[in-house]
Subunit: 426 residues, 2 copies
């Protein structure tokens, strides 16, 4: 569950007019009448996935763990960030023996990276999961040329059992290739956009392969689905987050700084940036999403947040309980003058650092929100990601923006294709 | 060397008034008469470091490589980001056998991280380098309590030969401790602030320990020092970058998005954010520094940059030559429709992606600059970091801001100490 608090400086946003607007958005959302409603497949996804679907992913995940030391996931945008966000939140900081390693490719175009990745794979057993709806997105397509070639040279006919394709159900180059070669297939649904796809096979297969409970992840999302569907507007945290950030935007606080004290959440921040940036950044509008990792960046961007241009607000994303912790102990010398906090755990220190930082930035004129989850586990992360997706839909609709398209992405693609002289784009 | 280009939409910023202001700043800078001029030790540092100083660091670095599999560097802010930025730019993407691994601690306060780090060190030989001017900065002090305890339990009396302290020359807790215990010492100079300290022992020792040429790094910085000191205002790239971003700020482009196509530069971006954010973010002023990694984030923040709120400009940081590369090859099926670019290298693709992206974002109303270095090596990185430091000083002075203090950082520290009931802060 998520606890939302906000600074007193943020006055109640729920006046009659705002309530009417939000009620209309809510009605349109659940009756699928808002802009972009062809892409609402994610809305009741957690409550409607079948047990067969989950079981099939779990079985493939189990097989991957048997077959491989390394799973290479090829994808970009929503086909990369969802799995990456969940894995970064749940995996340990340092590599573990005898645990499947999940690596990514096709999320950028570095020849050095790809070359060193291929060298790194030698002597390890490998499975590849390529995720691309069309099979033609340039970056993953390039990476897959190299990796499928590598797999065929290495495993011969056996490569077919080590390549798994997540793509369109019916059409496209990758769908065709999977059929020809006999690759196992999973589906990217038609009615779920990339940045809303973490609970589909796109996100679930890599997460399950790494050994995490996708049932718990989906349970958390399902809990969120129910809670925020049923709660009235005034007690609905997902709606409140949207309404508050909208009011701040209107008041000129046009940059939102997401701040964490748990470094493992940094890719949840990256996923959040795509979700909100790509959903809202249209027609010259939208809150600019930025992120900092505390306490690291208190010694970096902290100065700016405290005293810089006052067009930003701060949203803390907090974790209540640490999975592992250490306690500060006394030393005889006390040269560093820390004995006065002996007995304090590092997580307790972080909680106090949050309070002190919040007080300081508040006094510097930075409006603040806090979102707190209980701990870093599949259930809480599932709840959080659904919360963000739903809140984002409200937030974009408040701006009068379709949350589910990305018209600006075509612009640079067309420019690149023109420069590359792609047939049809010259 | 750095090549600076900018979009035509940015009109010439060098009117008579701007030239007069910049000339005054330049005069004050080199005659040390501007605000904060007690902290100009970095300005002629590259040309004035002694060979003895470099040799001492190189010898210690060599000894560390003999003694250790892992060097743990303890530091935060400028005592972390400088070394991290250079190492990330130069190290391979994947771990290499028989190469010293540099890990960081005390750059955040995660009990889980520290616990897993200590477990990871078992069975590996370790050297620790703690970097803290006062020895009392909370995060590194906490980490050093755990790590010095670990080292003493593990190596007994031998721990003293495996702990290296970079701290104040004369005073402070860590200086005292080093003397008592017999730790090797390096100096954090009095006249160089944390974010300007990468070319001092703070940055150089970890970089040298990892096997990179600090002579080349300093040579690059020395080249930059000479070039930008001697060049007149109109042909001075460091001054132009400052003047253009200042003009954009005045015009309402108050967020600068640093965009890279080489993922290894992402910690140079983090270092740049500290440098500019902490130097300029004062008195309600300053350009907000943000960063994206392309082509990854073209599928994320790209939409916002193309079509979102028009208060941002984009500065590409580009690398001309790749250190390693791959060439796209033909496939018989061409299902992914990439055969039309067979023969293109991935670096060539990135150059075209940059051009296409630049055209697209320009047509979306985003003013643009490009900074291009020749390749990722010590010399070019040294030049680049000095360029940024110098440019930052001009940029802050144009805002009427002291580039070398960080008054806002005290605010959250005092708040935390109050909550922790630190003696003297209750």
């Amino acid at each position: 569950m998520i606890n939302l608090t906000y600074s007193e400086a943020i006055e109640s946003v729920m006046d009659a007019n705002m309530k009417t607007r939000l009620q209309k958005i809510q009605d349109d959302l659940y009756t699928k009448q808002g802009a972009g409603s062809d892409f609402l497949g994610w809305l009741d996804w957690p409550s409607s996935v079948s047990d067969d679907f989950i079981t099939k992913i779990e079985e493939t995940a189990k097989r991957i763990r048997k077959q491989a030391d390394v799973l290479v996931v090829i994808g970009i945008g929503g086909s990369y960030l969802g799995a990456k966000a969940v894995l970064s939140s749940l995996e340990p900081y340092f590599p573990q023996e005898d645990k499947l390693e999940v690596l990514f490719a096709g999320h950028q175009v570095s020849g050095e990276y790809l070359k060193q990745l291929l060298a790194y794979l030698d002597g390890k057993d490998v499975v590849v999961n390529i995720i691309s709806k069309s099979g033609k997105t340039t970056e993953p397509a390039i990476a897959f040329r190299f990796l499928s070639d590598y797999m065929e040279q290495r495993y011969g006919a056996g490569a077919a059992e080590r390549i798994i394709v997540t793509t369109d159900a019916e059409k496209g180059a990758l769908r065709q290739l999977a059929e020809t070669k006999g690759y196992e297939r999973f589906v990217v649904p038609d009615d779920v956009g990339g940045r809303y796809s973490v609970f589909t096979a796109v996100g679930l297969l890599p997460i399950a392969a790494a050994g995490h409970s996708i049932r718990q992840l989906l349970e958390g999302a399902k809990q969120a689905e129910a809670v925020y569907k049923d709660a009235g507007i005034e007690s609905n945290t997902a709606i409140q987050y949207a309404a508050i950030r909208h009011q701040l935007y209107v008041q000129g606080y046009t940059t939102e700084v997401s701040a964490i004290f748990e470094p493992k959440l940094s890719f949840v921040q990256e996923w959040w940036k795509q979700l909100f940036g790509e959903s809202e950044g249209k027609e010259g509008k939208g809150t600019f999403p930025a992120s900092v990792v505390f306490t690291t960046d208190l010694h970096s961007m902290g100065q700016y947040i405290q005293d810089g241009k006052r067009n930003l607000f701060e949203t803390f994303l907090l974790v209540n309980e640490a999975n592992e912790d250490l306690e500060i102990f006394e030393t005889p010398e006390d040269g560093d003058e820390l004995n006065y906090i002996a007995g304090l755990s590092l997580q307790e220190f972080n909680h106090i650092a949050h309070k002190g930082t919040a007080n300081a930035h508040l006094s510097g004129g930075v409006p603040q929100l806090s979102l707190t989850i209980e701990r870093l586990d599949e259930h809480e992360i599932g709840h959080l990601l659904y919360f963000y997706m739903l809140s984002c839909a409200y937030s974009a609709y408040l701006l009068g923006i379709n949350p589910f398209d990305q018209p600006g992405v075509e612009e640079y693609k067309n420019n690149i294709f023109k420069l590359l002289k792609k047939p049809g784009f010259e």
